[in-house]
């Protein structure tokens, strides 16, 4: 839930003590995927590691630099969320390390920090949240075709953030 610093998601493999035998599972949470994350975006300019070109609500100074700027696998500042490259690499690692798990759990917060304010009118915040959930769940199911993949809704997976049962007039 905490996006005051860059939130890199966590994953862990563990065994669920079922009645007959342990069941190996993966648990991942707080992936905060940001499809607008771009390597090289200047830090300290309020860009959230997103470019002005891709996300118009970002300042004009949010232009990728050849050197410096946001790293390829995330940033610990500027409230940057998780780049696709990091998520993809993590899922690939999970699948290669423990491919035979029977259960995969994602305990929510699929969306990036700024999902409550969509990047453009053609991508409403609600659609953006659903797209990120779909993208994340699809990649987990593809990586673990024989596992049962479960998830729950979290405070960054609703619009406005943190709130359920707010009316349309209050939604972004």
């Amino acid at each position: 839930m905490n996006l005051s610093m860059a939130t890199l998601f966590a994953a862990a493999a563990f065994a669920v003590a079922a009645p007959d035998a342990p069941v190996l599972a993966w648990h991942v949470t707080d992936s905060h995927l940001d499809p607008y994350y771009e390597e090289g975006i200047p830090l300290g300019a309020g860009c959230y590691c997103e470019s002005h070109a891709a996300c118009a609500r970002m300042p004009a100074a949010c232009v990728p630099r050849v050197t410096g700027g946001a790293g390829p696998f995330g940033e610990p500042q500027d409230n940057c969320a998780t780049p696709v490259a990091l998520w993809s690499a993590a899922v690939e690692f999970m699948a290669s390390t423990a491919p035979g798990v029977r259960l995969v759990f994602h305990t929510g917060d699929f969306s990036e920090a700024g999902a409550a304010a969509a990047c453009s009118s053609s991508s409403p915040a609600q659609a953006q949240v659903l797209s990120l959930v779909n993208r994340s769940m699809s990649s987990l199911r593809a990586a673990f075709p024989s596992a049962a993949v479960f998830s729950v809704v979290a405070n960054h997976d609703t619009v406005p953030g943190d709130v359920v049962d707010a009316g349309p007039a209050q939604a972004c």
Partner: protein
């Protein structure tokens, strides 16, 4: 708009929960009861294999990060109470069936929960010490589950 400007508008989460029926429910599409609670409240309980039950909780109905829970008569508060009663029935049924239960949730119990709810939650799950095999871990309490399947960060 600030978060304090949010007002109760009754149950309005269909945009999300209807989508979750496919996004989450694809894993247990044949479980009619689980799909129904997912569609109406964003939570579910289902059995991926014999002897094991996975319970997905919607902690946005239990945590004060949701400002609508400041009002005990709000739709969100009422939905939270409904979820708690449902949760009790799930554990009771799992106990009778001899199932192991895994709890999934996002906002960890205790500090960020609605006042009084954590003590109720603790009292409930400790009634079933041999049922809940994995779930929230909070070392400041007597709860000692085997793995923190409720995320441990905080808004």
């Amino acid at each position: 708009m600030t978060i304090d400007d949010v007002v109760d508008a009754g149950p309005t989460q269909a945009w999300l929960y209807d989508a979750l029926v496919e996004l989450f429910g694809a894993t247990f599409a044949a479980d009619v009861a689980a799909i129904e609670t997912l569609r109406t409240g964003g939570y579910y309980a289902t059995s991926p294999e014999p002897g094991l039950k996975v319970v997905g909780l919607n902690t946005l109905y239990w945590s004060t990060v949701n400002p609508l829970l400041k009002n005990a008569s709000s739709a969100a508060s009422i939905a939270g109470e409904k979820q708690f009663e449902w949760f009790e029935s799930v554990l009771t049924e799992a106990s009778a069936a001899g199932d192991a239960v895994v709890l999934l949730g996002h906002i960890p119990p205790h500090g960020a929960w609605v006042p009084g709810l954590f003590s109720r939650f603790r009292a409930l799950v400790t009634r079933f010490p041999n049922v809940v095999r994995a779930g929230p871990s909070d070392t400041s309490t007597s709860l000692a589950f085997r793995w923190p399947l409720i995320a441990t960060d905080c808004h």
